[in-house]
Homo-oligomer: 192 residues x 2
């Protein structure tokens, strides 16, 4: 997605040759018009999949997901990482391992919001090791719903997440794919 690549090139900051900071338009400050275009892009990629639901995870996945939901005319559910005041239903839960923190955390979605036979599009902002996306997919499977695909805003292709998800048989559509952040420089993959 050209405008996204331009934003990354112009505003992205690389840290330690392996982290892309895009706090100015995606992870802290959000550019709503860009999110709207990202949502439209996901909607077009999955337009013939008869999506019935979008699933994402708090917090940075919410804006891209809700814009995709607006264009696809489907509800969006965000998995919670922590207890919330009203999330006390029967829950679907999965664990997410953090390599950085070396710890395992649980994420949850109420069973009320993923039904058997839902055709689910998973959306998230980053795809790195793929722990979060795998956990979301696992919850969809536990609900006997179908993962129609995984939409990612920024894929770090040099980490294992993309291959892991594709090896599991999922269709992964990433709007920007970064083959390297080495030397604090953003290199986009040139072909699929």
């Amino acid at each position: 997605m050209k405008v996204l690549q331009e934003k990354i090139t112009k505003h992205g900051q690389v840290i330690s040759g392996r982290i892309l900071k895009v706090d100015s338009f995606l992870n802290h400050q959000i550019d709503p018009e860009l999110m709207h275009q990202i949502g439209l892009e996901f909607a077009q990629l999955f337009s013939s999949d008869e999506i019935t639901k979008i699933i994402t995870i708090e917090s940075s996945g919410i804006a891209p997901a809700v814009m995709a939901g607006l264009h696809l005319h489907v509800p969006v559910v965000f998995a919670r990482k922590r207890k919330s005041l009203t999330l006390n239903d029967d829950l679907l839960s999965s664990t997410v391992f953090s390599f950085t923190k070396n710890e395992t955390n649980e994420i949850s979605i109420s069973k009320k919001y993923i039904k058997e036979n839902d055709r689910v599009l998973i959306i998230d902002d980053f795809l790195a090791n793929g722990e979060a996306a795998s956990a979301l997919a696992e919850m969809v499977e536990k609900a006997n719903a179908k993962v129609m695909g995984i939409g990612i805003v920024i894929e770090k292709s040099f980490q294992k997440g993309a291959n892991k998800l594709k090896d599991q048989g999922y269709r992964v559509e990433s709007l920007a794919r970064i083959s390297s952040l080495a030397d604090d420089k953003v290199t986009f993959t040139s072909e699929k």
Copy 2:
């Protein structure tokens, strides 16, 4: 806002006579079209205030805020409740007291994203005791920016937040105002 009141009446659940659960369209599952209409409503209410920035707080404030930002053509920043991978700049911080948990927590926004003279619209999903909205307003003031108003999706008028913010001189615009949840019944305030 009529369609919001209808959604609350139809899908809201009252818990213990004091909590309104709207997980089916606002706090866990999100209705994107409703969010789009909510965003438009906020944009119209603040259309002559020359808003330059919207501030909210993760997670449930993000969807309404980003839709308002889409209609007002301004960036949206969400305050973080916890450390994030890339939020390591100079921070504006404020504390939020939780009556339920009887604890104080810190929320933060990078100084990069609220500039002196920004004309800020604060948006959040619920207004109850007003701790979160007050903390967001405090951060805006610390940055020498101006709070043009506070846009709330659902105000619980029987709690002190709305009056607290108005007494501080802020303009508060709530799209649904609930005067009571007693007897597990939703009663909307009938006039301003």
